[in-house]
Subunit: 440 residues, 2 copies
């Protein structure tokens, strides 16, 4: 087999065999195939795409390029959730304890904030003492004890993706549905999940700006999963305005605790219940999503979900009592309110702009090596559709630097559109759940 | 400027600025831009192509990447011819002395045989004593004295093309019209030509198999030349059967001498006269191709073209008298005739197959480092359209190895289609000149 022939085949729009994909990935990881051939192939894939079956072969070969967590000590069902990234997206922190309290086991390996989107790992790191660098043994032990564990991604998992993602980043080949699919799926399956629920976010604050693009990715994830014989569900959710009232690291931990205490914002809970319900269906615990949603609500009201979360905090090194005592109290050194310039209705809050303001405050980062500010962030007192009076507080920004706070405040202020007329329509969708695609 | 943005721009089908192309070529040659970015860009160019203007920028930046022969000691007009490669294509050896005897100066830097196509340099090297490795000073001196010189390509000329061609070869990005255009044109202009005549061959033995593909390349060469303010003519010629009666190195030198003596085969002379005539028009020596063709014929009949050739042979180290004496006599150790299996008319001779048989005999080579056999080759006694009797000689093969001779004979025999019926049409076109595209 010659790499040039493989490139030529994809260039002509032909489908690859599993052997060709295996040859390519193994050769790439071992260094036998040079990067200049891989990048030419990546660009050919960008133009000619791949079938779901080919994306399945790619996912499989990428999984095989490194360590696979078999989690044999766990009985399962092992179901994980993956979000394509958003602003104010703290759902993992709420959904994992609910799902665990319903009997699922969730082996959650998460990433860090990058660009305008937040990262679950940075949020967890804002909890005093909480460790997101678990050994494989501890990871399994904690899942066994409380149903879920949350840790960073192991460097040994899917080295092909680490190499290829870096190469795609510098060769303008990131935006390819089958490449994105294989990148996401290979990591999740290598980390031990048996079934996967995807939250494909769509809108200004998401990677996919349009519903058509989001649907293309959702379909690819589901169908590629099907070609691998896995249960996969993709839920397309709206990400035009930030999710919930809090955007930040510790701020979002707080909002998650409130959610587990039954006081979560409506938008957060709608998406959380739906995603968790699909996890329960995929894991075989419930038959329908309606039945599953009812069970999830019960686990919130009974306090079992909160208990699972607090137990996890303890097992991963945190202090549950201290954490609960900090809710609403642990804040950055500086804060700044944004007041409404007029009386009217909030028409929209641009989540992309809010995400960028978050980066300014230190919620997220531009480069992977930059540090984050655990306490910085934005607390919205009003969201889209809410009436506000002139000079009423719209939101409060928290940060460690008054100048950056001022800069971020300007961005957040501009991100909010308030119209005085009461006749104009709200931009808020009736539901954040836009579409659901399943392979069960 | 960032290379990733440049790739993204081409990926989106946008046009590059001259600055972007310059940045890319300079960065590539200096090693600042890694090959994996260049190859991704090459694949994007393969899919999105480039305008003639962009191909002009690329040609210009590639020329600027290395040494440029200014040939300031020559008065000109300096006109060169380039063929896209064929089988039995010895036209340079005939056309250069005719054009020189008409008053043009031809700075000819040629390549070697590769694959099924022959190379001018290998043909010239078959002349005892003839040097194809001239210094820049000797190159200019010889052109000054006899109107033309023929040498190998300098390694200092267009290093960007040497690098990029090697990269294209291993990344399946060879077949891109603007990249082919810039590769060919940059070398020819850097070697000192002011105007260029292209023989774009078309058919089984050519790089371009169809007339549509040949036309696309011809148009690109002419229009890119126009965008650079150069006079360029592209003549599309038929390359379905080998050109002339001889395929080989010294065999083709012989046929060239016969042509200069007024005994050239009809097909060879038709294309030679036409290409040379366009050179004379481009060089301003004649006003019309008809007038120019008449002048070319005169230079053959008067013997002036032959004299120019023999003078060049002497100046480049050969012995004209010895050479003339060798015509028809200097042959390989072994030979083998192919006899016709039937009485009929030759319908076609597949030049691609004949070219491959040539490689078997040692006329050409598969790898650039392989040696060639100067005396090996194929002499056709009959060509397409000729009547043959059963057991009459179709051609004679020459070689240094009886086994290879046998192998090649089988291929050549299969390349010739002879039909017994006298009613079927000949495949031979009325003229080998299929189309002409000019920018004058």
């Amino acid at each position: 087999m010659r790499m040039t022939d493989i490139i030529m085949k994809k260039r002509a729009g032909e489908a690859h065999s599993p052997e060709e994909i295996k040859f390519l990935i193994q050769g790439y990881v071992s260094g036998e195939i040079p990067e200049y051939q891989i990048s030419a192939w990546l660009m050919a894939v960008y133009f000619q795409s791949m079938s779901f079956t080919e994306a399945g072969y790619l996912t499989r070969s990428m999984i095989d390029s490194g360590k696979v967590f078999h989690l044999k000590g766990l009985k399962g069902p092992l179901v994980d959730k993956h979000s394509t990234g958003g602003v104010g997206d703290k759902l993992s922190l709420i959904l994992a304890p609910i799902a665990a309290s319903c009997g699922l086991q969730i082996p959650m390996m998460s990433g860090r904030a990058l660009g305008h989107t937040g990262g679950t790992l940075d949020k967890l790191d804002s909890i005093n003492g909480y460790s997101t660098a678990l050994s494989e043994k501890d990871f399994q032990e904690i899942i066994k004890k409380c149903g879920f564990a949350m840790t960073g991604q192991s460097k040994d998992v899917v080295p092909a993706d680490r190499l290829m993602y870096a190469l795609r980043d510098v060769t303008a080949t990131v935006e390819s549905i089958p490449l994105i699919t294989a990148s996401i799926m290979s990591k999740k399956f290598a980390e031990g999940a048996q079934s996967l629920i995807f939250d494909v976010k769509c809108g200004s604050g998401a990677f996919m700006k349009t519903q058509d693009d989001a649907r293309a990715l959702a379909e690819s994830l589901v169908e590629t999963g099907r070609s691998l014989g896995r249960k996969v569900v993709a839920v397309i959710t709206d990400m035009n305005e930030p999710l919930g009232k809090m955007v930040g690291n510790f701020l979002e931990v707080e909002e998650s605790i409130l959610a587990l205490q039954g006081q979560g914002p409506e938008d957060v809970m709608e998406v959380t219940y739906r995603l968790t319900a699909w996890m329960l269906v995929a894991g075989g615990i419930c038959t329908t999503v309606e039945e599953a949603e009812t069970l999830c609500r019960k686990k919130i009201h009974s306090g079992e979900a909160l208990q699972a979360f607090l137990e996890n905090v303890k097992l991963q090194g945190g202090d549950p009592e201290e954490l609960l005592a900090q809710v609403g109290k642990r804040r950055s050194k500086y804060s700044r309110d944004i007041l409404s310039g007029r009386t009217g209705i909030i028409q929209s809050i641009d989540s992309f702009a809010v995400g960028l303001a978050g980066v300014t405050l230190g919620v997220g980062r531009n480069k992977t090596e930059d540090p984050v500010e655990p306490l910085a962030g934005i607390e919205f007192h009003k969201k889209t559709g809410d009436r506000v009076n002139k000079s009423e507080r719209l939101c409060t920004l928290y940060g460690e630097d008054p100048d950056l706070l001022k800069e971020a405040a300007r961005v957040v202020e501009n991100s909010m559109v308030i119209e005085e007329s009461s006749t104009i329509k709200k931009n808020k969708p009736a539901s954040l759940i836009l579409e659901e695609i399943t392979a069960l």
